[in-house]
């Protein structure tokens, strides 16, 4: 099937992104879509009970973009969508920084809500990104750097879309 690629924005970058600009891209000169839903993932200060000070995100250049495009293509097969944006950062990020933006426009909100969640669910366990976190001890000194394990709940999140 043919995909309206011009309506997709798939971006992997080290730089931060602007939510204003991303929203503009989804909504400007777009009279047919009454709904825009977007999600922003951020770096939390805690994980597994430990204090996190830094997140490092690695990816597989080439495959990442291909995998993200595949997920967006699949979403377009399931829902009537207008524009779709996926922006994912890689490299080093501090607590509270933005990691990922997933935005979807559609004529009606139902499709936009579901598609945004679907894309996020698949992105978490089907696009080749890996998180490493720096953990601080109670005194605030660096205790260790560790790779983040995939969660069973992330795999389970895909089950409902099958």
């Amino acid at each position: 099937m043919t995909v309206d690629n011009w309506q997709d924005r798939i971006q992997v970058q080290t730089a931060d992104f602007s939510i204003d600009e991303e929203y503009q891209r989804l909504s400007a000169n777009n009279a047919e879509d009454g709904a825009v839903v977007f999600f922003v993932g951020r770096v939390r200060d805690r994980n597994l009970g430990d204090q996190v000070s830094l997140l490092e995100l690695e990816h597989y250049p080439g495959m990442t973009e291909k995998a993200l495009q595949g997920i967006v293509d699949d979403a377009r097969c399931r829902w009537q969508l207008g524009r779709v944006s996926v922006v994912h950062r890689v490299g080093t990020m501090n607590v509270e920084e933005q990691i990922v933006f997933v935005g979807v426009s559609s004529a009606h909100r139902g499709n936009a809500f579901e598609a945004a969640e679907y894309i996020m669910d698949y992105l978490k366990s089907r696009a080749p990104f890996w998180k490493k976190e720096r953990i601080l001890n109670a005194a605030g000194d660096v205790q260790e750097e560790r790779w983040v394990d995939a969660r069973d709940s992330d795999a389970a999140a895909l089950e409902r879309w099958v």
Binding site: V100, A127, D149, A150
Partner: protein, 83 residues
């Protein structure tokens, strides 16, 4: 010879980002895993099926019978943790 790219924790565990396996091309995915386990016996468990994922030409495969040649881009990596 089959070249295998490694990422994230798997690269740290095997201590390299690229491994050249002296096995005939084409090779099945399970043969690639076995050759890696033989070359890194202390890390045999982390390259096993169910532990490491395999991509051929940047597409994930769940098929242990899938075949890669020396012309293909083969990669092994841990379960993904994006978002």
């Amino acid at each position: 010879m089959i070249q295998v790219l490694l990422f994230a924790r798997l690269r740290d565990q095997l201590g390299t980002g690229v491994v050249n396996l002296e096995i005939p091309s084409p090779a099945h995915v399970h043969e690639i895993r076995a050759a890696l386990a033989a070359q890194f016996p202390d890390q045999a468990d982390v390259v096993a099926a169910g532990k490491a994922l395999v991509a051929i030409n940047q597409t994930l495969t769940n098929d242990e019978q899938a075949v890669a040649t020396d012309q293909d881009e083969v990669a092994l990596f841990p379960p993904m943790t994006g978002g």
